[in-house]
């Protein structure tokens, strides 16, 4: 993106990343916390996401119902997300309205009330969110695959948490989790937009410097033995459509293999980007699995998903099976294509094409200042911010040999989970 990024660390451990962009009168301000489902113990799955919800339920300065309206009143856009390794809160506002966002985030970093009645009200909201997800067969399948893929690692749990835990988690549990993980040492502030760095830094330092910081380690050590044999899961549910999800164990984002894996995914299922806002997408109709599966009438869609994570996570290939075929036939076709890739190396031209597509998606995403703010802090959650400044350059350096090595090392049947969603009526 050609951004100049300035990095500062306050005495209390708060890291601040600033990137000036003067193409629009907008500032996008993000606060990232190193807490997500990776930090959760059994019995408290979903707690990080619920804490994120509670951050909108009020502080003494910004009571419930005031927070969200305050930003909207200024014409701003806001939201929050919880993921495997992080929780983030952002506001994108007209550049002369940023002070409110700065105050609001500093305030709720330490002053959220977690009122017991609000906790109970939000319990049913979070359960409602989970129930909405359960309506989707792909969620049910993904949850089963994720659970099967990890023996010990907290990545086995969905970020939304289990229904049992959502019914059982107490106000004390939530508040303890919040106080432990929400502090300056465990946070990164990333701001992109139309501001003066020196002035903004002065404001941030004034707001945050007096807050004490405390480094927090995840409660689980994150070690996971390598999978030794293929695991299969079968999910049954309503509908007429069969879905196949194949999950391979993938490298963590900061490992060198991640970039070659990104190119491999592009070759197999089509280009994708890690943009959260804007940027659009590029179709996948010349990808290997599209050509093999759709053009030969085995499937009606194929998608690949590689996430940038702190610990090794999963590479998922999701396929909607055509009614006249079964999932096992489609799986055999996927294996056949991987066999072709192993025996006939891809060309450098193919690899370069995939790198160009990634570069184009990066360019499209950079038009959106909220997206630029997103990238700054996002990459700090699993590496350093320069992970994203080097992203397209790293992809451009991938070779056909790298692709071959990735397939041999990671796309091994013994190390995968095969999940099949069977529409009701197929159960034998």
């Amino acid at each position: 993106m050609g951004d100049t990024i300035k990095e500062y660390i306050l005495e209390n451990g708060l890291k601040i990343l600033l990137s000036e962009v003067h193409t629009a009168p907008i500032i996008s301000h993000w606060v990232w916390y190193r807490v997500g489902s990776r930090y959760e113990l059994p019995g408290q799955t979903g707690i990080s996401h619920w804490v994120e919800h509670m951050q909108f339920k009020g502080t003494p300065t910004f009571p419930a119902g005031v927070l969200d309206k305050a930003i909207s009143r200024d014409g701003g856009m806001w939201n929050a997300f919880t993921h495997l390794d992080w929780t983030t809160f952002f506001e994108t506002v007209p550049s002369d309205k940023v002070d409110l966002a700065l105050s609001l985030e500093a305030d709720r970093m330490v002053n959220s009330l977690f009122d017991p009645m609000e906790v109970e009200s939000e319990r049913t909201v979070v359960i409602s969110e989970r129930e909405g997800s359960e309506n989707d067969p792909l969620f049910l399948l993904d949850e089963a695959v994720q659970t099967a893929a990890f023996e010990e690692h907290p990545y086995k749990h969905e970020v939304i948490g289990s229904l049992a835990d959502l019914r059982a988690i107490s106000r004390t549990d939530l508040y303890t989790h919040y106080r432990k993980h929400y502090n300056p040492s465990n946070a990164v502030i990333a701001v992109a937009g139309n501001f003066n760095s020196a002035q903004l830094l002065e404001k941030l330092a004034a707001i945050y410097a007096q807050l004490p910081g405390q480094v927090v380690a995840p409660p689980v050590n994150g070690r996971e033995d390598s999978q030794r044999s293929e695991r299969k899961v079968d999910v049954y549910g309503p509908g007429e459509t069969t879905y196949l999800q194949i999950a391979y164990h993938a490298p963590a984002a900061r490992e060198e293999d991640f970039f070659a894996f990104t190119i491999l995914d592009s070759l197999l299922t089509g280009p994708s980007s890690l943009n959260m806002f804007g940027g659009g997408s590029i179709s996948n109709k010349t990808s290997r699995l599209y050509r093999r599966l759709l053009e030969n009438e085995f499937a009606v869609s194929v998608n690949g998903s590689l996430q940038a994570t702190y610990d090794p996570y999963l590479y998922n290939i999701s396929i909607t099976v055509r009614p006249e075929h079964n999932a096992e036939t489609v799986l055999a076709q996927v294996d056949a294509e991987l066999g072709v890739l192993l025996n006939t190396p891809v060309s450098q031209a193919e690899v370069d094409r995939a790198a160009k597509q990634a570069r184009a998606l990066f360019v499209y995403g950079s038009e959106n200042i909220t997206n630029r703010g997103f990238w700054l802090g996002y990459s700090e959650m699993f590496d350093r911010y320069d992970w994203f400044t080097r992203y397209t350059e790293k992809l451009a350096g991938v070779t056909p040999t790298d692709i071959h090595n990735i397939i041999e090392k990671y796309l091994v049947p013994d190390q995968r989970v095969v999940g099949i969603y069977h529409p009701e009526g197929e159960r034998s």
């Binding site: 969200d68 014409g75 939000e122 049913t124 067969p137 109709k285 009606v300 570069r359 038009e367």
Partner: protein, 431 residues
């Protein structure tokens, strides 16, 4: 606090949106943006699903999906290979009045985008294998749709609110209608109806207007066809005369989706902006407005509960949607009805109106920062003939709306005793 912003774009207007009409009726609008390395195209032709015979509902949609499946000059793979190798994208979709298109590329690939657009619109070849393959994909999509509580509630709502009218029919059809569409139907639909008059192309990005005009003229000037016959006459749209309640049973689901509402203003209705601000107060501002406050924040019944004001050329709808546990649908519907009664009997507060006016005006830079945001805004100006200066007049138009006008708009359309109330989910429990 803000740094100097010499490069910051002004709000688009007559000084920087360049408009040209070709002899065959195609309108081109261009706004340059050299802060970006990319270009976006957005537009439509004046043919849509209102031309679908009811027994072949989905014909416009199916035709739109076929346009890039092969042309007189390129096979499906050749076309997509060119686009995907450049990191570019292009796609088509159909709605009631138009078949729309959208695309994006690095700016040096604008010629590729526009030539692909022209080839697809003017000379599609409807290859037999592609037509058949698409049909299978569409039928599977319809099977998936029939399991979606959100989609089925919306479809049933539209059908009840706009009986026997194109606004009440899903553009992607039904299994029984898509199944009977033949390749000949697609060819005839294209041949008879696709034409240049009324076509709009908006281009925004790192390109000069003259460059765009040259390329469009090169590829589209030869497209000369008479406009097609007018679409069939549609019934007059009238508001519901009584409360209509329906539940669509979809077994095995954890959540029901609820859609309730009535007609809304068409886009050119004089009360539209007042209705829009009112709708924002009702169900969007902050965490989903008054509806979100009541159904989610206070009652804890839903993760999402919000409103939408959908304004089209000939009519519109005013809807409240929520995802609710099946056992709580009746309670949620009662809370929503109560909010609608309040909305149609009392003025909104001065603070509510000011907050939302400030929101509408303050967020303009956010919606206009990207090429696609600008392109969509310009397309809207053209579609509804709002004027190239509309975005610059917009703040004063918003400020001029009064509390009385909001109440008048609310009362004009919403009758809480005569709503359409649809739910979709398990067990036959209704709203």
């Amino acid at each position: 606090m803000s740094a100097p912003a010499q490069q910051i774009h002004a709000i688009p207007g007559p000084n920087d949106i360049v408009r040209k009409t070709l002899p065959n009726g195609i309108v081109i609008l261009v706004r340059s943006n050299f802060n970006s390395a990319s270009v976006v195209i957005s537009g439509y032709i004046a043919v849509g699903s209102q031309y679908d015979p009811p027994e072949k509902l989905g014909l416009a949609h199916y035709t739109a999906r076929c346009l890039m499946r092969g042309t007189a000059h390129s096979s499906f793979q050749e076309m997509y290979d060119r686009l995907e190798s450049a990191g570019a994208s292009l796609g088509f979709g159909a709605s009631v009045h138009t078949t729309s298109f959208g695309g994006r590329a690095l700016s040096e690939d604008l010629p590729l985008l526009l030539s692909t657009l022209a080839e697809s619109l003017i000379e599609p070849s409807f290859p037999v294998d592609q037509v058949n393959r698409l049909k299978s994909q569409m039928l599977t999509s319809l099977a998936i749709r029939s399991q979606s509580t959100q989609e089925m509630a919306a479809i049933e709502f539209d059908a009840l609110l706009f009986p026997d009218h194109p606004y009440g029919r899903p553009e992607d059809g039904y299994t029984e209608t898509i199944s009977v569409i033949t390749r000949r139907d697609l060819i005839d639909f294209h041949h008879t109806l696709f034409h240049p008059a009324g076509m709009v192309i908006v281009v925004v990005g790192a390109v000069h207007p003259e460059q765009v005009f040259d390329i469009v003229e090169k590829h589209f000037s030869h497209w000369k066809k008479l406009p097609p016959p007018a679409p069939p006459l549609h019934p007059v749209i009238t508001p519901p005369q009584q409360e209509i309640v329906k539940h669509v049973v979809i077994p095995g689901k954890s959540q029901s989706d609820l859609v309730m509402g009535t007609l809304g203003p068409k886009r050119k209705d004089p009360v539209y902006l007042a209705a829009s601000l009112g709708n924002s107060i009702l169900g969007q501002f902050g965490l989903m407005g008054r509806i979100g406050d009541s159904v989610r924040e206070k009652a804890g019944l839903a993760y999402y509960a919000s409103t939408s004001l959908n304004a089209w050329r000939d009519s519109g709808s005013w809807e409240v949607s929520a995802g609710i546990n099946p056992g709580n649908v009746a309670r949620a519907a009662a809370l929503i009805t109560s909010e609608l009664r309040r909305f149609t009997s009392e003025l909104v507060t001065a603070e509510e109106l000011t907050d939302n006016q400030n929101n509408y005006i303050g967020r303009m830079p956010l919606s206009l920062e990207s090429n696609s945001g600008v392109a969509n805004s310009i397309l809207n100006l053209e579609r509804f003939n709002l004027g190239l200066d509309y975005l610059q007049r917009y703040p004063s138009l918003i400020r001029a709306v009064t509390r009385e006008q909001v109440l008048e708009a609310a009362r004009m359309y919403i009758d809480p005793d005569n709503l359409v109330i649809v739910s979709a989910g398990p067990d036959g429990r209704t709203g």
